[in-house]
Symmetry: C2
Subunit: 392 residues, 2 copies
């Protein structure tokens, strides 16, 4: 079979080695990986099959992980991973959404076969596709194993990007810039919101003449009017009206690597409150980015931001950004760095952060953001879209 | 605030009453609901915020459920649900993706406040966004509660659709027919796969002149060439080649209600094996649909199908369909009825099923499906797209 692999096998093996190092540091002998992004990161596995239980079994003294999943997805593992045939283990369809058999029963059988049923096994306890039932099955089936929490273990391995990963993120950045322009061009009084969303999707997936785009892990977020008081609403099929504020939070995606970007569009005259809010955000972004460099901590960034906006009287009571990169729905954030008090992660070159200091008040909101790469000496802006309230 | 509610409040309250009836039958006093489709079904809640922990607390003797979620999503609950202000409970941002505080600690506090900490509490144990950590937190925090598994309790309440729900699904059906036509028109030798995907997304969201579309719960699945040996791959940015088979599995979505549809397109001369496979599938669909009516069971459908294809020598080793309707990523299936041996659910009018007898062999595959509604006497086809191998 002709495989589709987007990195050299050596890069996957380096990632696996780093993961095993972290497992060793934490006293973990077996790691069950169900986060689709982590599965992709280690093996290349790609496909919209995470709606059934699937994962990797990483055994610390084995060369290759074992992929497990549904029978009909076995060929997806053959086509998109570097794993050898013996490590692709597909379960029969009667395990799917059944009340009688659970895929983790199948996984337990593999763990017994490999002599791992008395080992220290870590699971991604707080990861989307690892349900309470998964853990219950494993714990019941393997009474001699010791369980640990492996949530985010691989997420932290992912935190510094390789040169190929940065290249992919920069392609995603080109896509998101083009897409933001398409959104801006499309948002007009009388145009239905869903038509703008349709154009956004088209631009995201069309990509450029040279390379195509992939689906992003969050649908285009396009709240308008009173709906801008909250960040995570999508569109309706109502037309935009004169005076509407529209929040545009989107990403580009290339080979599962994201670049997110947010802007705020106003149709007609911006209310003074929105203008004031936007000015504060734009000034805060500039002052904060001037300060960002390797060696500072995540919470340092938030502190500079908070000091900047304190002058205005506006309050931002949520984190001002997060690490991003490789991901699958429902989130493009990596669940590692959060730019907020208490996060003492020290920034290093080739970390990629979405500096996203959106403010949502009771009756309006402003989203303006910058996706950035930490460089050897400071910060690189990944996109170059006008950083201001976009009045139309 | 101007609310966006897509059903009469009375319909939401009927759904809640049915849910409480089922809770009562199962001896459940409190149900924690984290499936976004179930949250929407009971309250109307909409928004792409399921990437953080959120949910409903349904207390059997309380009139309204309690919505819990992230602070910035509280206004989404105010704008999209019928709940009163006192039942919208939003947690501070330091609960988000934190190692110190978990949103289920916040939920535990609410349960204590409501005197529910010694009740029989059911959780959706095997639902996407209910992690192992969620359950661990609740169990540790509430030692006097008794826990039960409430997986799919509301999914089964959803199984028979109301007239408004059928109306929405029929609008989604119009969208998916238009979208399938767009996909067929776009798939050409030399066209990049991602351009077809871009056109599919545009058609899905543009909808019609009269009504717009919403995002579907699965990305367009468009495997081609050797990738048709497995169903859940999306696209690449390679161009289609003469002789390629392309599987198109897509849906339309209107107000979160889906209508799925699959077809197989061949560019140029179809290999005899693919032609044979398609003939078997088309004949099997016709023979099976002629048999479907209320009163038969889900497994009866599979039996008729299996008998039909047995003549050919091809084998279908996975379920041949499932219930669909309201959903959020990552799945548009409802996790209730599966058309396979052992599923003894008796069909009733206004159940909606995706009869999807795709066959994926080692080197090729054929997807041809029909979304159907069970009527008082038989079956209604929800779409009317040519049911054949689409040779181009």
């Amino acid at each position: 079979m002709t495989k589709t692999l987007y990195f050299e096998v050596g890069e996957y093996k380096q990632r696996l080695a780093k993961t095993k190092q972290s497992m060793n540091d934490k006293g973990i002998e077996v790691l069950i990986v169900t986060d689709p992004a982590n599965m992709n990161y280690i093996t290349g596995f790609d496909g919209w099959s995470f709606y059934v239980h699937q994962g990797l079994i990483i055994i610390i003294d084995q060369d290759e992980p074992i992929w497990f999943g549904r029978g009909q997805d076995g060929n997806a593992a053959r086509l998109t991973t570097w794993l050898s045939e013996e490590n692709i283990r597909a379960y029969t369809d009667d395990y799917v959404q059944s009340l009688i058999k659970h895929p983790m029963d199948y996984v337990s059988d593999i763990l017994r076969e490999k002599g791992c049923d008395n080992k220290v096994i870590a699971t991604e306890m707080d990861t989307y596709y690892y349900t309470a039932k998964c853990q219950e099955c494993l714990v019941n089936n393997l009474p001699n194993a010791k369980f640990k929490d492996g949530t985010n273990l691989i997420n932290w391995v992912k935190i510094v990007k390789s040169s190929t990963e940065i290249d992919y993120i920069k392609k995603a950045a080109i896509i998101v810039e083009n897409t933001m322009q398409k959104a801006f061009d499309s948002i007009n009084v009388g145009t239905r919101q869903n038509e703008v969303a349709a154009n956004v999707y088209h631009a995201q997936i069309y990509g450029t003449e040279e390379f195509g785009g992939d689906y992003t892990s969050i649908a285009p977020l396009l709240p308008s009017g009173i709906r801008t008081s909250t960040p995570h609403l999508s569109w309706t099929d109502e037309p935009y009206r004169d005076g509407d504020t529209v929040l545009v939070e989107i990403a580009g995606n290339y080979r599962r690597y994201h670049c997110p970007l947010s802007r705020t569009v106003i149709l007609g005259n911006a209310p003074q409150k929105v203008q004031d809010l936007a000015s504060v955000v734009v000034e805060g972004i500039a002052e904060t980015l001037a300060f960002v460099k390797p060696g500072i901590t995540a919470e340092d960034i938030e502190r500079v931001w908070s000091k900047s906006i304190a002058k205005s009287g506006f309050i931002k009571d949520s984190r001002v950004g997060y690490s991003f990169g490789l991901n699958y729905p429902p989130d493009w954030g990596e669940h590692t760095i959060s730019l907020r008090p208490g996060d003492k992660t020290i920034l290093e070159p080739n970390m990629t952060l979405h500096f996203m200091p959106g403010i949502w008040l009771d009756d309006c909101g402003v989203d303006i953001s910058e996706p950035i790469r930490i460089t050897e000496t400071g910060v690189e802006l990944l996109t170059h879209y006008p950083r201001k309230l976009l009045v139309k």
